[in-house]
């Protein structure tokens, strides 16, 4: 698009200085810098980002505290029973002089139960206050060894949490920055400044600048969250989980970068079809559903391999679906790459589609532009 090589047509009458038109990417960068600067000045944006980061840090810290609190149960032991209790994990023996002393400890709540020697087959019996202490019983029980033929890499609840986390972060960021783009597009249309912009830089540079600027912001937020979560896990001693989660988070960032550009182009295109801020919600609703859908699906179907496999390839849900599968260890090494290629091509197509709608809708003020008008031009 550069016109820098265009010969200058100065006639002697024209004495004013001519300025070389900026290149396409220089224009894009100017537009995106303005987007970023105006976002960074918005109090609402700073506050919501702060809250999001706090939630991320908070959930890691809470997870650390919960996992550290798998405390052992205290039981009183009398005489030879200490040998039995000592072998079982999850129980801490509190020696008592005799059965009466052990009962006293149970009564005042110092211990959950007392294990005392008796003449039964096991050689010990358990004294508890008002109900059979299941945790003590299971700790003392003898279980046969279990061999799993296909062991799951991660526990069910943890998978749910991780899936929820990816889903939530994608959903929140895409929605926040997507609607920011939508508002910024309509602001330019509503205030009519768009006509000056259109005569100054190519419409595609304007659209690209908005998408790039907001993508940088969204990606920055994602990276900040990922770093905080990683550092938080390392500090709270959840290194094992970090090692499992690390690759998934890395892929998530890559998928998010492409996925967000696609979503952003759609938000910009649909928003350009209306002329008032009041109408933004209605016109961008289909895109909002596209963003919400993977979030809902991943919550419901995170333990359904078929649905997750499909989700990990459909471009709109791949940024959530593929990282979850990577975390589960159910994705082959080439699967994220293939999915990423599909996503990249879809993104390119969506950008073409979106910029056509955007270009044809920008100067149509008043009522909502129909898709037919927007696509035909």
């Amino acid at each position: 698009m550069s016109t820098a090589t265009e010969p200058r047509r100065d006639t002697p009458a024209r004495t004013r200085a001519t300025h070389t038109a900026p290149s396409f990417w220089a224009s894009v960068w100017l537009v995106s810098s303005r987007e970023i600067a105006s976002r960074l000045r918005s109090k609402a944006f700073l506050i919501s980002t702060g809250i999001l980061l706090l939630i991320a840090v908070g959930s890691v810290v809470a997870g650390g505290i919960l996992s550290a609190n798998t405390s052992t149960t205290q039981v009183a032991v009398v005489g030879t029973a200490s040998a039995v209790v000592g072998e079982s994990s999850g129980l801490t023996a509190v020696p008592a002089d005799d059965v009466a002393a052990a009962e006293a400890l149970v009564r005042d709540g110092t211990v959950a139960a007392a294990v005392v020697p008796d003449d039964s087959l096991l050689g010990v019996s358990v004294i508890a206050l008002d109900s059979p202490p299941s945790d003590v019983m299971s700790a003392l029980s003898v279980s046969p060894a279990v061999e799993l033929l296909e062991p799951a890499a991660q526990g069910g609840f943890l998978v749910y949490l991780v899936a929820l986390g990816f889903g939530l972060v994608f959903f929140m960021s895409a929605l926040t920055f997507g609607s920011t783009i939508a508002q910024s597009v309509v602001e330019e249309k509503q205030t009519r400044v768009v006509e000056i912009l259109m005569t100054t830089i190519p419409v595609r540079a304007l659209l690209a600048g908005k998408v790039v600027g907001n993508s940088i912001m969204a990606f920055g937020q994602i990276v900040a969250i990922a770093l905080l979560v990683g550092i938080g896990m390392a500090i709270t001693g959840q290194r094992v989980l970090l090692a499992d989660l690390g690759p998934a988070i890395g892929w998530f960032a890559v998928f998010f970068a492409f996925g967000f550009v696609m979503i952003a182009a759609l938000f910009a295109a649909t928003a350009s079809m209306v002329s008032r801020q009041e109408d933004v919600g209605t016109t961008t609703a289909p895109v909002t559903y596209l963003v919400m859908l993977p979030y809902i699906l991943v919550i419901i179907f995170n333990d359904n391999p078929l649905v997750m496999a499909i989700m990990s390839y459909v471009p709109f849900s791949a940024p959530v679906g593929m990282p979850v599968r990577i975390f589960l260890g159910t994705a082959e090494w080439w699967e994220p790459i293939l999915s990423l290629v599909i996503l990249a091509f879809t993104t390119a197509g969506v950008i073409l589609f979106g910029s056509r709608i955007y270009r044809n809708s920008l100067l149509r003020m008043g009522g909502r532009v129909t898709y037919k008008q927007a696509l035909r031009g």
Binding site: E6, R9, T15, H19, P22, V193, T199, L363
Partner: protein, 294 residues
């Protein structure tokens, strides 16, 4: 020279512009006059490349206008607008930089313009906090901040207070004097009449008249004369080839069949007493406009 040649444009079945052609010469202030909906804004948008025409071309010194050329235009759209939540100065710097100015040049131009438009005290204010008149000035600054070589201004004077009108007039004249083609539309015919070198009159999407102001006034003038003399002018009615339109004491307006007949009246009047004034009545722009548009 900017040349608009054979532009047609329709929105569906509605033909908005029909074979619109005119030129804007270097250093010529060209007024673009027409009723609402006549096609002025559409024409200007096509010149600026915001809208595509169905046929026809816009030429600059004989070659079709490119996107690069269009960046050297200063454009003030009819639909006014700047970012409401951006500071005036920052906004102008931003627009200048989009046109390719260096940060330093953009800053320099912004400061100069704001000073000329008496807006320098407002550079740090948000656009939305400005009065309507000051917003208009900021809008004009936005059209000029990148040292444009051509100006296309849609209704630049609407919404301006009289002082701002004079300021803007001065700026536009400077541009024309420096050799820039200046095209502007306006409803204020008296202003256009006072200001313009050339005129383009459009009605219902067609150019009805176009040319230099003097040529148009000659073209549309009737053989109508006005005389002011010391004695009662009633005698004029008796002169051959003369039709009196209006008369009041020593003053009369009449139409002459020929130049000779009008000169007869002048000689006769001089012989009867003192003549204060005698002249060919030329139509005002408003008169021409009415005549052309109907």
């Amino acid at each position: 020279m900017l040349e608009i040649r054979g532009i047609n444009k329709n929105y569906g079945a509605h033909q908005v512009l029909t074979d619109v052609s005119f030129t804007v010469g270097d250093g010529r202030m060209t007024g673009f006059v027409g009723a609402n909906g006549a096609g002025k804004t559409t024409t200007m948008r096509i010149i600026l490349g915001v809208l595509a025409s169905d046929s026809g071309s816009v030429l600059l010194d004989g070659t079709p206008l490119t996107a690069g050329d269009r960046r050297r235009f200063g454009y003030m759209p009819e639909e006014r607008g700047l970012y409401p939540k951006m500071k005036v100065g920052e906004q102008l710097v931003y627009l200048a930089r989009l046109h390719g100015l260096s940060p330093a040049a953009a800053k320099q131009n912004t400061n100069d313009l704001l000073e000329r438009l008496s807006l320098d005290q407002r550079a740090g204010d948000l656009v939305e906090s400005l009065s309507l008149g000051n917003q208009q000035r900021a809008q004009i600054a936005a059209a000029l901040v990148h040292d444009p070589e051509f100006l296309v201004l849609d209704e630049p004077f609407s919404g301006l207070d009289p002082i701002a009108v004079e300021v803007v007039l001065t700026v536009l004249k400077e541009y024309a004097a420096a050799g820039a083609p200046v095209l502007f539309s306006s409803h204020q015919l008296d202003l256009v009449e006072r200001l313009c070198d050339d005129l383009v009159i459009i009605a219902a999407g067609e150019i009805r008249a176009n040319g230099s102001r003097e040529k148009l006034r000659d073209q549309f003038s009737t053989p109508r004369f006005e005389i002011s003399s010391a004695v009662d002018a009633g005698w004029i009615r008796g002169v051959d080839g003369i039709t009196v339109i209006d008369f009041d004491g020593g003053e009369a307006v009449f139409e002459a069949d020929s130049d000779a007949a009008s000169q007869t009246v002048l000689r006769e009047a001089l012989s009867r007493g003192a003549v204060h004034s005698f002249g060919h009545l030329r139509p005002s722009l408003a008169t021409i406009f009415k005549e052309v548009v109907q």
